[in-house]
Chain length 108, copies 2
DNA sequence: TTAATGCATTACTGCACGGTAATCGAATAA
DNA sequence: TTATTCGATTACCGTGCAGTAATGCATTAA
């Protein structure tokens, strides 16, 4: 019951190392695992596992090419996160509107 | 080094129980700890600890009133999250623009 | 004053998860 | 073929964290 799309996104992006990998793919575009490992500050297995989780969350795509694999960011996967934020803001607005109505009715 | 505002937000909102509390405060407005505990599915101490973390992240405010404490959502705290998302989209767009330029130059 | 209530805090438990080292499979290089 | 490289996988370790039960502290009620 805890697996709506935005749930996976928050969980996946909560880790700094993982988020840094995603940010780098957004900034610099497609990268091989080796390139990502250089500068990630963690071991190659760690990077591979993070990439697997990012892939599972739909945040990255992998493109095998010979013996190396290129990863790239899938920006569209952030949509549920934007939706969630908008929804929270919407609730807020709705409550504000109701308050406005109440005040208006009290004013009469 | 891992404590930019959006880092705390992702970490804080990654927990489903905690996010549910925040969502409820957004939807229904100010609530006491007792009201929040009813229907949270966890014990009162658990709720209190989650509220403490939400408060530390700036996502909620507390308003002591006698022996009960009212909590309310601070929607503005979500701003860094929106910024981060926009930034990621911006990187994407920037890379796309550069590609467009390249193609344009190649076209000549 | 004494009892009861609302919330925070503490102490503790269990587990999920990030990390590494070692190994493996596949693909390229020699 | 043999050696090497790239990345995934496995096994394992340590720790952070969500959860509870018990307790403490204030505040209201009796």
């Amino acid at each position: 019951m805890t697996s709506q799309p935005h749930d996976i996104l928050f969980r996946t992006l909560a880790d700094p190392t993982r988020r840094a990998l995603f940010e780098r793919l957004c900034r610099e575009g497609e990268q091989t695992v080796g390139a990502l490992t250089a500068g990630a500050g963690v071991s190659q297995p760690a990077v591979s596992k993070h990439l697997a989780l990012l892939k599972q969350a739909g945040l990255v795509r992998d493109r095998p090419d010979g013996r190396q694999i290129h990863y790239s960011a899938q920006l569209g996967a952030l949509a549920p996160l934007v939706d969630w934020t908008s929804r929270m803001a919407g609730f807020w607005q709705h409550r504000f509107d109701r308050l406005e109505d109440l005040l208006k009715r009290m004013d009469q």
